[in-house]
């Protein structure tokens, strides 16, 4: 294991920007960042930050199974996440509260299971992301998915937000709150699946949540909040990619630390005002 780890690290460290077109990675990464921040903005207001954060762990067993059968791990991640979000949605609908304990147990179980079944050579990259493994197909899937996510979210945004403010009020104006929530959670599953190659399953949830938490510190209105969350998500990934490429360090933790840096700055700005 130790040897595998060091081999894997070595592979990461000798990575040079010439290997892949860095511009391509930046563009695709920017799209992942924008969509993560945008979707995360709703999750933070829904007070589901921890659920959103832990959700990304569910991607691991899905990726492991896909790798075992020589399929695209992104597809495996998406399927596993879709199952998980339908589960969260169902619990939320039936009990009207998000059963935090259940989410905690279920998601860590997924992580433990995923760690056991993931083939060892791939373990580090699925946990922390690996830019080398992002190919043209991933790029095309990301562009298409980002387009779908932005358009659909924009369409349901007002209805979703009124549901966040008050489900009763939303219902009284004829909004099908539970369908809106399901559509939203499936989009979250999709964005996490897109991001796992950049950030890894352990930290992808943070990319959904942290830019939105930072945006909430400084935004005045809802439109501003969504824009700031999207921009911070984008900047976190772009700056994270550039830093990790030139410093030869792992992409996932770098991206998340950049977003945490934005959070600290936003917190100081909030305190100042």
């Amino acid at each position: 294991m130790q040897m595998l780890l060091s081999l894997s690290m070595e592979r990461r460290f000798i990575y040079t920007p010439m290997d892949t077109n860095i511009l391509f990675l930046i563009i695709i990464g920017a799209l992942v960042g924008v969509t993560s921040g945008y979707l995360g903005s709703f999750m933070v207001l829904k007070r589901m930050s921890l659920v959103g954060d832990a959700l990304s762990h569910v991607a691991l067993p899905g990726m492991a199974i896909a790798l075992t059968f020589h399929q695209d791990p992104m597809l495996g991640a998406f399927l596993a996440l879709t199952l998980a979000v339908i589960g969260i949605w169902y619990i939320g609908e039936k009990t009207k509260i998000y059963s935090e304990a259940l989410v905690g147990v279920f998601f860590t179980a997924s992580l433990a299971l995923g760690l056991l079944v993931t083939p060892e050579p791939e373990l580090l990259e699925v946990l922390f992301g690996n830019l080398e493994k992002i190919g043209l197909t991933d790029g095309m899937i990301t562009v298409l998915s980002a387009f779908i996510i932005i358009v659909v979210t924009r369409l349901i945004s007002d209805r979703l937000l009124l549901g966040v403010v008050s489900e009763d009020l939303a219902h009284s104006t004829g909004i099908k709150v539970s369908i809106m929530n399901l559509v939203y959670l499936i989009l979250v599953g999709l964005v996490v699946a897109l991001g796992v190659k950049f950030v890894g399953t352990l930290l992808m949830g943070a990319l959904v949540i942290v830019p939105a938490v930072a945006a909430k510190n400084i935004a005045h209105g809802i439109r501003q909040y969504q824009i700031i969350a999207s921009v911070l998500g984008m900047l976190s990934v772009v700056i994270g990619i550039v830093l990790s490429t030139f410093l030869g360090i792992s992409s996932g933790p770098t991206v998340v630390l950049v977003s945490i840096f934005f959070f600290i700055v936003s917190y100081m700005l909030k305190k100042k005002s």
């Binding site: 207001l45 007002d158 209805r159 937000l161 009124l162 403010v165 008050s166 489900e167 009763d168 009020l169 219902h171 009284s172 104006t173 945006a215 909430k216 510190n217 935004a219 005045h220 209105g221 809802i222 439109r223 501003q224 909040y225 909030k270």
Partner: protein, 240 residues
């Protein structure tokens, strides 16, 4: 003002949550353009009755509406964190995009006036974060929200809860003004007897089941109240 036509009929409405009967076999009719006050002690199922009628929770029995009905609902209380990133304007825009309509609704609740100084105040209010409004202001914004889209039946769930005395007066003055509007039926939850005498065309006394229903002068008396609240209640009548 009240027409003879029923805008809403509730018959044998029963609500059961996890085996607990919250409401049992409640039946009553609401005349078009009338004001009905729902009276009852805490835990009597008043809010549940509203939610069931509007379709926010499952029930058994029948709720029959006139076909042209448009509902406006003012919930009891919504609490916002102070830093919830949403302005009053953005909140109103969830339901109605046209600024004139929003201004009209705010005018109805006294948060928007024509004079230039007040317009300035109104504009500032539109761009205020909803979480920093006072209880009274938030209540009026919620009423304005319910008024968007010109409803013909309004449900007020304790419109004065969390509002100070001045705010309370404003809410009831506002209700009085709304009552004068053509074709606007109002259902209002309250536990203030005063409100029943002043505003109601009909009163529904509720304590898990219907205890009484009819014109206030016929049914509001010491005995009825004792059976409703389970203790002696002093009855003050106001001369009008």
């Amino acid at each position: 003002m009240t027409s003879s036509e029923n805008i809403l009929s509730v018959s044998h409405l029963t609500v059961d949550i996890d085996g607990h009967v919250i409401l049992k076999d409640v039946s009553f009719d609401v005349k078009r353009d009338s004001t009905v006050v729902v009276l009852g002690p805490n835990g009597a199922g008043k809010t549940v009755l509203f939610k069931a009628i509007i379709g926010l929770m499952p029930y058994s029995g029948q709720v029959t509406w006139k076909t042209d009905v448009k509902i406006g609902y003012v919930p009891q209380k919504i609490s916002f964190e102070k830093d919830f990133p949403l302005t009053v304007l953005e909140f109103m825009q969830f339901k109605e995009k046209r600024l004139e309509e929003i201004q009209h609704a705010l005018k109805e609740v006294g948060l928007w006036k024509e004079s230039s100084a007040d317009t300035h105040r109104g504009t500032r209010l539109l761009h205020t974060k909803i979480g920093v409004l006072s209880g009274g202001e938030l209540q009026r914004v919620l009423i304005a929200f319910a008024l968007l889209g010109t409803p013909n039946i309004l449900f007020f769930d304790e419109p004065t809860s969390g509002v100070d005395i001045t705010g309370e007066e404003t809410v009831y003055t506002l209700m009085r003004r709304l009552q004068k509007q053509k074709d606007l039926t109002i259902l209002c939850i309250s536990h203030e007897l005063d409100i029943v005498n002043q505003y109601a065309d009909a009163v529904l006394c509720l304590n898990k089941e219907k205890m009484c229903f009819g014109a206030p002068k016929n049914i509001i008396n010491a005995n009825a109240l004792e059976s409703l609240y389970g203790e002696k209640i002093h009855l003050y009548t106001h001369g009008h």
